[in-house]
């Protein structure tokens, strides 16, 4: 699984983003350049307001960059598409649909034959271990289950890029750990590209092939760490903690003057 052999799936070139805030304009992203090969697991980490969610939303096609371009396999991103799927922090499941209906939403849009849709739904319900809850509504699920549905919903739609915006931020520690493990299994099994926004250095080092540290004012990628530790990773190992310290230092070195 060497990165060099894989084709670049996602390219971000000179992307900036300005927002109007009242009469003012805020520069959310300074020019950002980024290339992510297919199948890589990338964590975006940074303080609140560093533009990491904005970058994610631009890749998702929910927002247009002010200048620059994001593209996939050479094709510019002009809007949301089923090659990219977002997993939101607060799930954003369709509350009037059961688990099964949520997961089969994407295949249903493609108007596949009924049997095929059911087959896909079964496969991904099984992948996230929710067989017993397939006919429940989201309001009847725990947070961890809802996030599993959100992940399955994206993967069932054959997305090649999984965008995750602090997906485990609202979960308790135990559930979070479990979902991290499951996400690792799913990722290595499906070969999707994952772009994962988080606040937690430990989470980033645990999951990622590559950790991008972003800094605010305006948002840009400050450093790019490759995590070469073998998986599954041991959070108590010295190597792990050394990386964690390095990244944390990078984060706070730019945070401190801004807060002063």
């Amino acid at each position: 699984m060497s990165n060099e052999a894989r084709p670049t799936s996602l390219t971000v070139r000179g992307v900036t983003k300005r927002f109007a805030v009242g009469n003012d304009e805020v520069e959310a992203l300074a020019p950002v350049d980024l290339a992510i090969p297919q199948g890589e697991f990338v964590c975006l980490i940074g303080a609140s307001g560093c533009g990491k969610s904005t970058l994610l939303r631009i890749i998702a096609g929910f927002e247009e960059p002010t200048t620059g371009e994001a593209s996939i396999g050479g094709k510019a991103i002009t809007g949301p598409g089923r090659d990219r799927g977002m997993v939101f922090q607060d799930y954003v499941l369709f509350p009037w649909m059961t688990v099964r209906e949520n997961i089969s939403f994407g295949p249903r849009q493609r108007q596949l034959p009924k049997g095929e849709i059911e087959g896909i739904a079964d496969e991904f319900i099984k992948m996230v271990g929710l067989e017993r809850f397939a006919d429940r509504y989201p309001s009847q699920l725990s947070g961890g289950m809802k996030q599993r549905v959100a992940i399955a919903r994206v993967l069932a739609n054959d997305a090649s890029i999984l965008l995750m915006d602090e997906p485990f931020g609202a979960l308790d520690a135990l559930t979070r750990e479990q979902l991290q493990n499951e996400l690792m299994q799913i990722w290595s099994r499906t070969g999707v590209t994952a772009i994962f926004v988080t606040h937690s250095v430990e989470e980033a080092v645990l999951l990622a092939d590559r950790v991008l540290v972003m800094t605010a004012g305006p948002g840009r990628i400050e450093s790019d760490f490759r995590i070469k530790l073998a998986r599954p990773r041991d959070v108590s190992s010295p190597e792990f903690n050394e990386l964690r310290r390095d990244i944390a230092r990078r984060l706070t070195s730019h945070l401190a003057p801004a807060r002063a």
């Binding site: 809007g79 799927g85 499941l93 369709f94 849009q109 989201p138 309001s139 961890g144 479990q178 499951e182």
Partner: protein, 289 residues
Amino acid sequence: MEDHATTLAEAAEPRAPETAAAQRRHRQRLKTVRAVALGAGFPILLVLIWDRTVALSGTRLIPSPYQVAVMMYDFAFGGVYDDAFSGTILTHIWKSMQRVYGGFFLAAVTAIPLGMMIGRIRILRQLLDPTISLLRPIPVTAWLPLSMIFFGLGPNAAIFLVFLGAFYPILLNTMFGVRSIDPRLFEAAAMLGCSDAGMFRQIVLPASLPAVFSGLRIANGFAWILIVVGEMTGVPTGLGSVVMDGRTLSRTDLVITGMIVIGTCGFVTDRIIVAISNRLLSWSPQHHE
């Protein structure tokens, strides 16, 4: 994937399930009995106060509950007074139902799609919102002369008035419901390949359904309120015309009987709408009654 952290309490093995379930059922039944007793107790109290007040004041202008009950019996089954109203209750209810639900469904089939489009399409909102805000405060009764010119004397004028009264609550609630849909639901649908045309049926409609149903409930109430006004337009049958006839004939017992029947019809139909809504909105615990 065994997980202890996210398993719902319900999924955990219940101890002595039958006794627990039986107890829960028993408690539930007690609660229902209590709610019914409280809900029915208050009207009974009102009737008692009515009865005592009439008896103590010795008024002849207002009939006693007993006299109204006799009138109600005659209205339903006949055999007491044997006049033009005896045993005619079903005819009147049926006629009024036709007008109420003629107007109500006309309002629903126009206001729900219109409300969804206005809520979703900005240019339509800019085009129509001021006009709606201008027309809405006009009392439905003020439309009475015009509706009689438009539709003549007869049931169509009544249907039109009910339509007007039911239209705005459905429209406004639908607009509000659509406007308050979490925009990220549209993002989620778009990223999963949902087309713009598909959004209406797959996202806008189900997501705004709770608000649409509150609109329908309010509109159902208005529709029954307006039936008396609507049937003032010179129709020979219907509960509203019964009340108006009672007034003309100075038969207050008939007036009150008509009022009670209208109230009951409104109550029963509201429960039907709630039952349908509970069924369709079972996914939404906060909209379940």
